[in-house]
Amino acid sequence: MHPVYNISLTRLKEFIRRPEAVFWVYFFPILMVLVLGIAFRNQTQEVFSVDVIEGPHSQMLKQHLDESLQIDATIISLEESRKRLRVGKTTLAISAADATDGRSIEYLLDPKRPGAIEARGIVDDQLQSSMGRNDVFTARQTEFDEPGGTFVDFLVPGLLGIGLMGGGMWGVGFAIVDMRIRKLLKRYMATPMRRSDFLISMILSRLVFMVPQVLLLIVVSYFVFDYRVYGNLLAVGVLVSLGALEFAAIGLVVGARARTLETASGLMNLVMLPMWTLCGAFFSYERFPEMFHPLIKLLPLTPIIDSLRGVMMEGESLFSQWPEIAVMAAWTVIPFVVAMTIFRWRD
């Protein structure tokens, strides 16, 4: 049998015979999607906790507010309420000036806190209409409940990207350094094994590992969260393969020279940790200042996540992802060439 077949096959065997590796590569992402998917599931209707500051009108305000199912009003002292606002136990406090007949309301809130503005709008609406405002029109609400817009839909492409990155770092970079430390790489160099066969096998075995990695995550999300892939599955396959190639090439660079496991893990963390937070895997990178977006888009993890979201969530075509594909191609070819030039084969 051809060496590429044999090397790839032994890589696969070594991998599946290592239960902890199987756990980290295959089951950890599933655990992540389960935990995060449950924590951030779309709640049907949020109930806002609102403090009514003690005063002559507080009883009246509470009665008005209690008419709404979305508001949980509590009468409380100003001092106590300030404390609760500070630690986030409540998002909004209201008080009515003593002198008026309860028709001069003051809102106390931190507008930067998530939900505070929304709570203010709901409370204001409730009080205005309950205390006699005439609406100028009637409105009807139709609930839009198609799957596709949940946090899980956002999360799955992110976790796929994270998984491809980790797979390339561990499955290629770390594996090569381990072989170098064992002098196995040197031993191979004493045989007629071709260097290209070795590298092709490392990359090929990564592509094979990736298939169950991707399928498991999608299938589990389908059964637990009713997750759907909107775009073309073939396009998803192409993108995922490109992502695997990209991180296999970066893994080659990480493993090209390191002679100790400490150096290898240092390099891997240098690659992985910034991208975990920067590239929009768990939350959109739109939250970073706009001036950084072009840079973030040039990082290797961003284009795979962005293009997967484009295809999987929005059903865009593969072709429309060409800028992302171009960045991934660059992150495949350049690291590969660099790795070839600096690779330490013999010691």
Binding site: M1, H2, P3, Y5, N6, I7, T10, K13, E14, R17, R18, R182, K183, L184, K186, R187, Y188, M189, A190, T191, P192, M193, R346, D347
Partner: protein, 330 residues
């Protein structure tokens, strides 16, 4: 090819290897030797003598700083792929993949060679058939070493390199490995091995080169080298108290005594004929009221050759680099 046997299996000339660093380390300082086809050639010497560097240059795993290295009539640097098809290598310390079986490892190595031996046959030759489906990490030291040799044999090489194949093995495992090397040699193949066990070299090698501090200090068959000492026997003895210098001089005067060396635990006499020396030795010691606490006679070994040349024992700690030049003979 009609002149195959005329081509030496290995020919190296004026090999030098200096590792850059502060200060630079001159590991190999002018090594030249030839290994004939079908020969088992031993490279002997203490740790740090340059054995591994030399063998790795010949295996094509290191570049010499200068000098030429020819293997099976081909040059490293121009015929690398062709050489690698015809040599087998066992490195000093390779940890093969822990979670692959013996059979899988040998099959993997077989796939690297265009021609070779059936993996099952190699396992049989190295007595590993029973371990075929055992993971590498479950093997004993001797089994791991035999597997390393199996990976060297599976490409059916004309020449194998074994770098310290028995270091750290128990006597039984060592003998098993010797048998494998002998049967490979019996098929007319060439072996180059390094060792710091003199007994191993005497048992296995047709010729040896003794290395010290990056140079060859002696070369020849083990028998020739021992004979070159001029005295083929050794008496080692110790006494209840140290001998005075005049006693040593008197012992030196006994006929067929070549020389006496003082060691930590006693004395070592290099001699020609034990039955002439022994009675006279005992007489002199008794006359001077010494009590013999230990007495042993044995044939001279390669170890004695090394001691005679360097004044050190083989498994002594290697000399500090700065001192290396001082202990070299001549």
């Amino acid at each position: 090819m009609s002149s195959v046997s005329a081509v030496p299996a290995i020919r190296c000339a004026n090999l030098f290897k200096t590792y850059s660093g502060k200060p630079p380390v001159e590991a190999v300082r002018g090594i030249s030797f030839e290994v004939r086809q079908g020969e088992c050639f031993g490279v002997l010497g203490p740790n740090g003598a340059g054995k591994t560097t030399t063998i790795e240059i010949l295996e094509g795993l290191r570049d010499a700083t200068s000098g030429t290295a020819e293997v099976l009539g081909m040059q490293w640097g121009s015929d690398d792929a062709a050489i690698r098809q015809r040599i087998g290598v066992s490195l000093q310390e390779t940890r093969l993949s822990d979670r692959l079986t013996v059979g899988e490892i040998v099959t993997l190595f077989r796939s690297f060679y265009t021609t070779g031996i059936d993996p099952d046959e190699v396992l049989q030759r190295t007595s590993l058939t029973e371990k075929k489906s055992a993971w590498f990490k479950t093997l004993s030291g001797g089994q791991k070493q035999r597997l390393a040799v199996a990976t060297a044999l599976v490409g059916d090489p004309d020449l194998i390199f074994l770098d310290e194949p028995t270091t750290g093995l128990d006597p039984g495992s060592r003998r098993e490995l010797w048998d494998i090397v002998r049967s490979f040699g019996a098929a007319g193949k060439t072996v180059l091995l390094t060792t710091h066990y003199m007994e191993e070299a005497e048992q296995l090698c047709d010729r040896v080169a003794i290395f010290d501090a990056g140079k060859i200090i002696s070369e020849g068959s083990p028998r020739e080298l021992i004979r070159s000492l001029g005295s083929e026997h050794v008496i080692e003895f110790s006494t209840d108290r140290r001998l005075e210098p005049q006693h040593v001089v008197a012992l030196q005067a006994i006929s067929s005594v070549d020389r006496i060396e003082t060691e930590d635990s006693g004395y070592r006499m290099s001699i020609g004929v034990p039955h002439v020396v022994l009675p006279e030795l005992i007489k002199q010691l008794t006359d001077n009221n010494f009590t013999l606490t230990e007495l042993a006679t044995r044939s001279a070994s390669l170890e004695d050759v090394f001691v005679a040349k360097t004044g050190r024992h083989l498994n002594d700690h290697p000399p500090v680099v700065a001192d290396a030049a001082n202990v070299l003979p001549g």
